[in-house]
């Protein structure tokens, strides 16, 4: 129901810069995920949208209106906190009612809205309980119900699933995404978990040290990383990054030789995802290495190879079994190779990229 724009937003704490020159345009009804390691400024960015932090410079615009001077309580923004932040002295019913009461929604409508919100998150049976008597997942759903009950313009979620166990997390993930699609509320979601980011987002913003490294759909972020930081951050295991030398259409590093586009030369870093590597016979190999580790996961087998000084991850067939020290030859999917400037880490865009879609 609202578009959010950040224009040249800067946040400084004394001498420390939390967010530097951020430009971000979040479309109406979009599900945007801010992803990055701890301390990258993603939560600060969200808190500036919420109005809990005032930007040092720049403008925050929600629904076409500059809201820098608008207090958090008047922004019509709902937020789900990492620690749930339920009111411990009130029942779940009263918790969900609180935003309605504070915004003067007529009493007659309150009950209907509360019950509808509670139904949405399947919490109808727990309305009389106090937060202390609920499990982590139930508290999380209560916090969600409290956020959706008044149909805010913007939905903010600050690592809402990080206190839950893995199984609950994946079911809550589906629930959150479903809720967002159903309500069509612009949503900003902060996380350091790339699986959450990939599964939930329409677009992902990758941040590091207060700056945006890349903005894109999950597909773009994964297959077309803008720099070595993004390449190394996304994916489990992440993209293999091998430093080497490129000249005359050939990239070479210890134990690795591969044809590369003519435009690439000098000291560059080759990036290749583990699943774009294939175990091949002699003659076709781009890389030779000795097996350092074998990790069968059931659906697939991860091989770690040692080539020269570096370790290289390969996603092999589910029945691939090797002994430590075996010599393995690997070929690459030539369309899927990425080259980065070793010095700056930036992507070298010299070949037309084949889109996954």
């Amino acid at each position: 129901m609202a578009r959010i724009e950040l224009k040249d937003v800067v946040k400084r704490y004394g001498g420390f810069t939390g967010v530097r020159r951020m430009d971000l345009d979040i479309a109406d009804e979009e599900f945007l995920v801010l992803l990055g390691p701890s301390g990258c400024g993603k939560t600060t960015t969200m808190r500036m949208i919420a109005g809990l932090e005032v930007p040092s410079e720049g403008e925050v615009v929600i629904g076409g209106e500059v809201v820098n001077e608008v207090d958090a309580r008047d922004r019509d923004v709902a937020m789900v906190f990492q620690g749930y932040a339920l009111y411990p002295n009130m029942s779940i019913y009263e918790n969900i009612r609180f935003p309605l009461r504070m915004r003067g929604i007529p009493k007659a409508d309150q009950d209907r809205l509360i019950r509808r919100a509670a139904e949405m998150v399947e919490l109808g049976d727990f309305l009389d309980r106090k937060p202390g008597a609920l499990s982590g997942g139930q508290r999380q759903r209560a916090a969600l119900a409290r956020a959706v009950v008044r149909q805010p313009q913007v939905f903010l979620m600050d690592e809402p699933l990080s206190n839950l166990d893995a199984k609950l997390r994946s079911s809550m993930r589906v629930q959150i995404k479903h809720l967002q699609r159903q309500l069509k509320i612009t949503t900003v979601y902060v996380t350091h978990d790339q699986i959450e980011a990939m599964t939930l987002a329409d677009r992902i913003v990758i941040m590091e040290k207060g700056a945006i490294r890349q903005i894109g759909t999950p597909d773009e972020i994964y297959s077309d990383p803008a720099d070595t930081f993004v390449a190394g951050f996304i994916g489990a295991p992440p993209m293999n990054l091998v430093e080497g030398l490129a000249e005359n259409g050939r990239f070479a590093a210890p134990g690795l030789v591969v044809a590369c586009p003519g435009g690439v030369s000098g000291r560059v870093t080759l990036g290749v995802r583990p699943e774009d590597c294939h175990v091949v016979g002699e003659g076709l190999a781009a890389l030779e290495g000795r097996v350092y580790g074998v990790e069968p996961t059931g659906e697939t087998t991860y091989l770690t190879l040692r080539t020269g000084e570096t370790l290289f991850e390969v996603k092999a067939a589910r029945d691939a079994r090797f002994n430590l020290g075996d010599l393995v030859r690997i070929g690459f999917d030539p369309d899927r190779l990425c080259y980065f400037d070793t010095e700056t880490g930036a992507r070298l865009r010299v070949q037309p990229y084949r889109s996954v879609a």
């Binding site: 919420a50 309580r73 008047d74 923004v77 937020m79 906190f81 932040a85 009111y87 002295n89 935003p99």
Partner: protein, 315 residues
């Protein structure tokens, strides 16, 4: 291999270090070893028992006697029966409740209001110890200053006249409520900071996420305070009020120095009544009985407040 060697080495080294300690322990008899912790706390316990429990028990014992200096005549419950019919005692009780109740209410309201405006301020957080200043002054010295201000020096009276609020002089000891007001003002001045510090600390220790959630839910600061902060810190308020209440029930210094119970015994507190019975008319048994009654009432009242505050704070 290296790991195995390490643990083996550690296992060998450990008993070597433990052995001398084991020896000293073994020399003690089992009885002594069991008694040892009690022996360690014994001095403190004996000290506390000596200065609190013994005099308390002594007062209860004495309250069943008519004491004429060295002569003790057992009178059973006569002292208590007499107290029940003593108008002065009940007046003192009423005075204590009125003065103490009003002072405590005013202190709580002022302290809570100040705390509400101050607790989000980083400066207050750093300097809250400065607010303890009035508590650090000797109560009797403070009482003498108030005596100077209200009675002997007529400072307050002069100020009020200069401001055009009154005509002539105000005799603070000549009117029941003016005299009581002087006691209330003195107590409020000295003890509001105590409650303020406790309330600020309680408010500052709240979960900040909860406050932020409330702000985003559209609550104003007063609404957050009323709906969330206040219910959450209720147990702290209860404890502070009980501590202060006990203190205020035994109010003596200000009464002794400022009013001496005037006019007409209308500012006499229970403590002052006990003092008067014990040390002016030397009616020790009677004074002890009054002290015991006050003790019982105080304990019951404190129990009730704490219990209620904690019960409704839970679940």
């Amino acid at each position: 291999m290296a790991a195995i060697d390490q643990t083996g080495g550690a296992a060998q080294a450990a008993p070597d270090r433990a052995r001398p300690r084991e020896k000293t322990l073994r020399r003690r008899s089992p009885a002594l070893r069991r008694a040892f912790p009690y022996l360690l706390v014994a001095p403190a316990v004996i000290y506390l028992l000596g200065i609190t429990l013994y005099p308390g028990a002594y007062a209860v014992y004495q309250s069943f006697y008519l004491v004429r200096f060295t002569e003790w005549i057992p009178v059973g419950f006569d002292n208590y029966v007499e107290l029940a019919g003593d108008a002065e005692f009940w007046q003192a009780m009423l005075n204590t409740l009125l003065i103490g109740g009003i002072a405590l209410t005013v202190e709580c309201v002022i302290a809570m209001a100040l705390a509400f405006f101050a607790y989000r301020d980083a400066l207050i957080r750093g300097w809250r110890i400065a607010f303890l200043m009035p508590m650090l002054f000797m109560p009797s010295a403070v009482a003498f200053i108030w005596k100077l201000a209200f009675n002997d020096g007529r400072v307050i009276s002069d100020l009020l006249r200069k401001l055009g609020l009154i005509e002539g002089n105000l005799d603070f000891l000549g009117n029941i409520w003016l005299a009581r007001t002087t006691l209330i003002v003195a107590d409020v001045w000295q003890w509001t900071p105590f409650l303020f510090i406790i309330f600020v600390a309680a408010l500052q220790s709240q979960d900040q996420e909860v406050e932020e959630a409330a702000r985003l839910d559209g609550a104003s600061w007063p609404a957050i305070f009323w709906n969330i902060s206040l219910p959450m810190i209720r147990p702290v308020i209860a404890v502070a009020v009980v501590l202060r209440g006990i203190d205020i029930m035994t109010m003596f210094t200000n009464v002794f120095i400022l009013t001496k119970g005037t006019p007409g015994g209308m500012t006499e507190t229970i403590s002052y009544f006990i003092y008067r019975q014990g040390f002016q008319t030397f009616n020790f048994g009677y004074a002890s009985a009054a002290a015991v009654v006050m003790l019982v009432i105080t304990i019951l009242a404190a129990q009730l407040v704490v219990k209620r505050a904690f019960k409704s704070g839970k679940t």
